[in-house]
Symmetry: C2
Amino acid sequence: MKTIFMKKLFSLLLFLSFFGNLHSQTAIKVNQKRLSETLKTLSTFGKNEAGGSDRVAYSSHDMEARNYVKDLMVKAGLEVSTDFAGNIIGKKAGTIPDLKPIAFGSHIDEVPNGGDYDGPVGSLSAIEVVRTLTENKIMTQHPLEVIIFTNEEGGVVGSRALAGQLSQEALQVKSSSGLTQYEGIKSVGGDPDRISELKRNPGEVTAFLELHIEQGGNLDREGIDIGVVEGIVAIEWYEFTFQGFANHAGTTPMNMRKDPMLPAAKLILAVNEIVTSFDGAQVATVGKVDVFPGAGNVIPGEVKINVEIRDLSSDKIHQVYLAIEARAKSLAEESKTELSINHIEVASKPALANPEIQRTIENAAKSLGFSSMYLPSGAGHDAQEMARFAPIGMIFIPSKDGISHSPKEYSSPEDIANGANVLLQTILSLDKQFQ
Amino acid sequence: MKTIFMKKLFSLLLFLSFFGNLHSQTAIKVNQKRLSETLKTLSTFGKNEAGGSDRVAYSSHDMEARNYVKDLMVKAGLEVSTDFAGNIIGKKAGTIPDLKPIAFGSHIDEVPNGGDYDGPVGSLSAIEVVRTLTENKIMTQHPLEVIIFTNEEGGVVGSRALAGQLSQEALQVKSSSGLTQYEGIKSVGGDPDRISELKRNPGEVTAFLELHIEQGGNLDREGIDIGVVEGIVAIEWYEFTFQGFANHAGTTPMNMRKDPMLPAAKLILAVNEIVTSFDGAQVATVGKVDVFPGAGNVIPGEVKINVEIRDLSSDKIHQVYLAIEARAKSLAEESKTELSINHIEVASKPALANPEIQRTIENAAKSLGFSSMYLPSGAGHDAQEMARFAPIGMIFIPSKDGISHSPKEYSSPEDIANGANVLLQTILSLDKQFQ
């Protein structure tokens, strides 16, 4: 009898350990092999001859991939539906009826000639996590919700819809597939006319988690397993236009020119010098230069350069901008050109990760024996839109040489499984912490 | 009897004075008012709402203008025809049958949204010169030939044909009108299939003269009436490509970038610094910058800049190029980018004006009481192609503020008439000098 009692007690402790502090010793794990295989299968939808992925949103490749992913979700024990924005939603009930869901997921669409990891890693890991829970007959208190977002690469379309940020105007924008967002959403089973009904309000989602490849070289370079994302940076674009006087490149002596190319070239160098003169992880990029008229035999009349600045702090961005602006003004003055500046808001507010979720991710990594570091996300993600109404957290895994949006992007099966296991443990911890 | 003899002697001297050194006191003059009026009428063909001229070659405006000009040529006493390249040719016989013609002319087509003086001044002055000779019943020893060249602005098409430089390939190039050169030439009455028959050989033309607005600010700034052109500069294009590594502008830390925009910006500044460090009138221009992929949120993978260098001396161009090349190489090295250089031959040989013709133009200006200066032509002209088989000379008149290829280009009626009178006297002098 005593033996039976001890056995039962042991079973109970074992069971409890999945939900308690003991889980570090006995943590359930995702099936790495299965996760790798599903990623491999997913990568076949839209693979091009150059080895890249042409699985842009709303393409036939995207449609095939969506069907494959829906099947996987059903196998994982999720109740699957498509919402008005074309997001694939998978639901699993929790043990406490009134709790709001813990949501997690990512996207499966790619940039044209993209890679196999950006999006798919977080999407298939989310499904694998639920499948692992189901196989282990583990019920969480909170309902779980896996979200595979529509057209992330084309402007976080699906998550913007959930945040109530997808305007009718935005729906008319053409996507990489050639279809407008409106047509594309319709083609994947959404109902773009009812998108406003999707808007979720604060309190409706307990937490949102997204696992993603880093898309930068920090983890890979430092040999660190897990990145705890502090937030998604704000992005600001500033278009500096220097106006001189277009003239004949053969007949206008050097000392009679008012060539806007010269202050523009100096500003390009100044942007680099200024952004690196501040402490911190802020970045600034000149990725676009427009020269008018842009002919080899004409001194330009106008040169436009696009300066992008990103940082977790909007204030830091503004400081960097002010220094660049001051330099631009003095360059215009000394070159006797006219300067105009156009501010284009891209994502003017950073999306900060919830501090408790950050600590929970760090602890989950530690409990599994993984090294981790805190870092910002320089790239945009669906999580940034979810942050408008829910506490968010993001988990990064190493991305080889920091390459992304390229057929060359790569994360190892181990690193991916590590990320999925941290996601799993974070969900289990938050399930207890957030009531 | 003595009185009658004296009268006859006086008449003879008066007559001779038109051809001899005495002409300065008694020079016949073009009709400035008529010349102004014909220029004004010509400007109506293709005038757009912004005040610019849309008389691109082969357009309906060009066709109307060609008909107007042909009428003027007939009125001037010329025998008018259109050659296989669509050039309008006007011939007037000379008194010595075996002499080869003295040719002169320019073009009446314009760049899109161009002005009213570039081309028309030389074309209508050439016709006015002949009309003045005809009205004054002056016969030259040499036959005279007025040439209104086809599509100068689209690549000196008509003069290239006469020089035997217009390939079948070049005929397939699209012109600003939308027609290919082949189609365009056909539409204005040429026969592009027989263009090779037009080629003229050295010795077939005694001299070619072109009057033109300066298209630079030298004469206008210095207040000088007439420019004696030393030659038409050679033009070389060099495409410098810096290759770095395209990457995500948000996730790639500043110190992990291999951004080709930085050496490219430095080279733009170096081009200006280097070309002005040499003595002389050479010019260098960066009028075209291509950034790949050219998106505000992507660190460029490749930046291409086009460097154009012009000078009367090919050797000077080469020296300037070598200094720029050396700088480009060291910029690539210090930025760890790959450099490639592509040399595009535009007009690799300068077209030097014949020294005797230069002196004749200078003397003609002096005899009429005009100030003059020697200067190179930084712009290309039909004369450069004519120089391949004939001694050439060019006469420049002031162009306000050096503006050209613009609705703002302007030369005063007096300056234009001065140029036409210098052209007239130069023809009369060469008629005696060149036998």
